[in-house]
């Protein structure tokens, strides 16, 4: 799962602590193929934001092992049922992640750009609200409960655009 070389399955989900190379993941999906017209890649990164004058040192991503992969697979299956995808990949990290590092990657491949865009956005919206991951902020001098990132209403709204809830 994490030997550094992305596997070449056409549709895959992966959860890992190690950083990964987003470009290599996208390349693995399309290597040697001439039937793909559009690839959309989304990369979600840890931002160095400042709150009350205190900079973020890192994010700690907690996840529900087992369910995380299963839920990501269900979300991917739902995307495949909705759009004509030729391949897709979802990778989500857990553990300590510092600003500038990748947290999540979604890649979709389709003959047509509209499907690739919609599927990638759908996957991200649903990952945000349904994949069992929780972010805690590490800032110098703060370790209370308030350090857990609160879910945004905007994320629920984004997910609801796509109709019926998955779970």
């Amino acid at each position: 799962m994490s030997d550094g070389l992305p596997a070449s399955e056409t549709f895959s989900v992966r959860v890992q602590a190690e950083p990964f190379d987003a470009a290599a993941e996208a390349a693995a999906l399309t290597e040697g193929r001439t039937d793909i017209g559009a690839i959309v890649t989304f990369t979600g990164l840890c931002r160095a934001d400042v709150k009350d004058g205190v900079p973020l040192a890192a994010l700690h991503l907690e996840h529900y092992p087992g369910m995380a992969e299963e839920e990501m697979r269900r979300i991917l299956d739902e995307a495949r049922a909705r759009w004509p995808l030729q391949g897709a990949r979802v990778v989500h990290r857990f553990g300590r992640i510092v600003p500038g590092e990748v947290i999540v990657l979604v890649v979709t491949a389709s003959p047509h750009r509209g499907a690739a865009f919609s599927a990638a956005e759908f996957l991200m919206d649903w990952l945000k609200t349904n994949a069992p991951f929780w972010k805690k902020e590490e800032r110098p001098g703060r370790t209370d409960d308030g350090a857990w990132v609160e879910a945004k209403d905007a994320d629920d709204t984004a997910a609801e655009r796509w109709g019926k809830a998955l779970g």
Partner: protein, 83 residues
């Protein structure tokens, strides 16, 4: 039944998991959350606002009124913030 806690629920309960014997009369997810809350201490603190607690039964998201049935694992956690 195995009960798992994540994020601040885990911190408030003070443990990541525990084995419980589901008492007679506790048939839904909401029933179980209420029963856990009634234990007091960290449990009461974790479940003080049941409206913000989500649950999964055998690794699938469920609503509070879902029957526990013969599930072997239940997890409680706040709204997800991954991605």
């Amino acid at each position: 039944m195995k009960v798992l806690y994540f994020a601040w629920l885990r911190e408030r309960v003070g443990r990541a998991e525990e084995e419980i014997e589901v008492p007679a009369g506790i048939t839904t997810v909401a029933d179980l959350a209420g029963w856990l809350k009634a234990k007091g201490g960290g449990h009461a603190y974790a479940f003080e606002n049941p409206a913000v607690v989500r649950a999964a039964l055998d690794r699938r998201h469920v609503k509070p009124d879902a029957p526990l049935g013969d599930a072997r694992e239940i997890a409680f956690f706040p709204p997800m913030t991954g991605g």
